[in-house]
């Protein structure tokens, strides 16, 4: 870091802008969390007030924990998200390596074909997907969701990762070949560690939409034992009455696991960036 370019005024302005952004971004989350600790009356009377001795209540959390199998929903969401990310990164990275590394007939066409998926929303194919899932007996299993989310995430993953893999030094891969490493080890031990920041980016991009998705759980896996958290929370939102305490508590708790995952990935991201800088 150069000190010469560091004027206090500049860093003040930068911090002010960043802090303003953080406030704007975190405000809705903040409102949800504080209201989840209040009783129903206070939520509507003073939505922005912090919970005090009067209004403090854990009724929402109690309802959520009593109602249905909330931990099972949690677990389902976690399994679906982590497994989908795993497959997206694994298959995405392998496809990207092949596209970036090997010259074969149809390489360019294959790349374009895979990238096409970025532009076409997968939900257009919902009916066909449902028919396929019914035919293969996967309806109401977590596999149905994992497969669909993997398919949904792959196009962007392949696109981003192949771009990064092209930048990995050819000499390094060739040195590995001369030393007798198999293509799989060159991929896993030489190339993947160098594109770790890109992998983390892809993971973060895919994680949130999968965690929050309501559409596919509702259509492909609405059974009690395969409900995801987002779907499970819907019981509190009725057509006529909504149990706001429960909804806000469920949302507050749903934030935690994604935040944990995000911290893991973002650490990878930062490590990747700084290790590139000192090299």
């Amino acid at each position: 870091m150069t000190t010469a370019r560091h004027s206090p005024l500049n860093s003040l302005a930068a911090h002010a802008a960043l802090i303003a952004y953080v406030i704007v971004a975190l405000f809705p989350v903040f409102v949800i969390v504080i209201n989840s600790f209040k009783d129903r009356r206070s939520i509507f009377r003073e939505p922005l007030a912090l919970p005090d001795a009067d209004s403090f209540s854990l009724i929402g959390y109690q309802t959520v924990l009593k109602q249905g199998d909330f931990f099972l929903y949690f677990q389902n969401s976690m399994i679906v998200t982590v497994a989908s990310l795993f497959f997206i990164l694994l298959f995405g990275a392998m496809a990207a390596f092949a596209l970036a590394e090997y010259r074969f007939r149809g390489n360019l066409l294959m790349g374009l074909y895979l990238a096409l998926g970025i532009m076409i929303p997968i939900r257009i194919g919902t009916v066909a997907i449902l028919e396929m899932m019914v035919a293969t007996g996967l309806v109401n299993t977590l596999w149905a969701l994992i497969l669909v989310y993997t398919a949904q995430g792959l196009p962007l993953a392949v696109f981003i990762l192949s771009e990064f893999m092209r930048q990995v030094s050819d000499d390094l891969k060739n040195a590995g070949r001369i030393d007798g490493l198999s293509e799989y080890r060159i991929f896993a031990q030489l190339v993947v560690p160098l594109v770790r920041p890109a992998l983390a980016t892809v993971a973060v991009f895919n994680m949130i939409p999968i965690w929050n998705d309501l559409w596919f759980p509702l259509i492909l896996a609405p059974a009690e034992e395969t409900k995801t958290l987002t779907l499970g929370s819907q019981v509190f939102i009725g057509q006529f009455v909504t149990d706001w305490n429960a909804v806000l508590s469920a949302l507050s708790m749903a934030i935690l696991p994604v935040m944990g995952l995000y911290v893991i990935f973002s650490r990878q991201l930062i490590r990747g960036i700084t290790s590139g800088a000192v090299k």
């Binding site: 000499d171 060739n174 040195a175 070949r177 001369i178 030393d179 007798g180 000192v278 090299k279």
Partner: protein, 334 residues
């Protein structure tokens, strides 16, 4: 026995022909240097020899064994890259040992070879460091060590010194020469650097546009270039070319004279004006614009005082002048 035989090797990327009909034999223990302008196919030829690219046609044999279709690790070669290409996640010791480990060599043999190589290259103190914790020169020595450890029949170097600064380059050049003497393996070395080529090579191969222009010892190429391209490519400052006709040569021909073979003298046949003087201490380069508007470089041994703008007369020795036809081929000397 011959370490390497290339027989009519061609390489094309799609429609682009990069190597055309390369024939070459490298004897055991020989040091062969590839030179040529950028993009002429030197690295591609090296990669074809290493097996990192397949030749489009032609035969390759290493140590008498045909190796077309043999994977790089089984060809008995080792390669040193311009960018070092060390494994970033392994320390120096493991970087050097990986190739042998992959071959399944016994652990004691690996330790022995690594110790030997690190002694030769004075890397003993750094064996536990990662590549990121080494200087450029040390990284390059590790890369060379990684090649030595495998005890290959043929070493391939692709511009190994071009990322080093001038003094380090000279030291490493001398180390490589010493290494070659002590290892007695054949080496193929790609470089842009005149001095490296002239000082290291037993034989130089001059390439242009994927073709071999001439093969010979450094002095053969210097004293007896086959064509104008080779004559101009080797030697620094490079050879002067001027129209031969005004000096009594055949029409259309070009006369080539090396800068050190031009002499300043009152009765020389060439007249001109000094446009620039470079004093290097040991010798002096004088740039002269002749009456025929050609620029000549004159290299005078020692320190020589002459002002820019002064009129000079230059002479040359017929025995040291080369005559080239219009297409660049060499005409027999007069």
């Amino acid at each position: 026995m011959t370490a390497l035989v290339l027989d009519d090797v061609c390489k094309a990327f799609g429609k682009v022909e990069v190597l055309r009909n390369i024939d070459l034999a490298v004897e055991d223990g020989e040091f062969v240097v590839f030179v040529g302008p950028s993009g002429c196919g030197k690295s591609t030829l090296l990669r074809v020899i290493a097996g990192l690219e397949d030749a489009t046609s032609g035969r390759i044999a290493i140590g008498g064994q045909p190796v077309n279709g043999v994977p790089p690790a089984k060809r008995g070669i080792a390669m040193v890259f311009q960018s070092y290409a060390l494994y970033p996640h392994l320390n120096v010791r493991d970087n050097m040992a990986l190739g042998l480990k992959q071959e399944g060599a016994p652990r004691t043999l690996i330790a022995e070879r690594v110790a030997e190589a690190s002694r030769m290259l004075e890397l003993g103190a750094y064996l536990d460091r990662r590549p990121a914790e080494l200087s450029g020169g040390q990284r390059q020595r590790v890369a060379i060590g990684r090649a030595i450890v495998r005890q290959p029949r043929l070493f391939l170097f692709d511009e190994p010194l071009s990322n080093l600064d001038a003094s380090l380059r000279m030291n490493t050049r001398i180390e490589i020469a010493a290494l070659h003497r002590s290892l007695s393996a054949a080496m193929i070395y790609v470089t842009h650097d005149q001095t490296e080529a002239m000082t290291l090579a037993d034989r130089i191969v001059v390439l242009r546009d994927g073709r071999v222009e001439q093969i010979g010892t450094p002095m053969e190429l210097y004293n007896n270039p086959a064509n104008r391209f080779v004559a101009g490519f080797l030697g620094a400052p490079s050879m002067n070319f001027l129209r031969a006709e005004p000096l009594g040569g055949p029409p259309g021909a070009t006369l080539g004279i090396r800068p050190e073979h031009l002499t300043v003298g009152a009765d020389g046949p060439l007249r001109g004006e000094v446009t620039h003087v470079e004093k290097l201490g040991g010798d002096t380069n004088i740039l002269v614009r002749t009456e025929g508007d050609e620029t000549l470089t004159v290299r005078v041994f020692g320190q020589y005082d002459v002002a820019v703008g002064a009129a000079l007369r230059l002479g040359y020795d017929e025995r040291h002048a080369f005559l080239f036809a219009q297409d660049g081929s060499r005409l027999s000397n007069r």
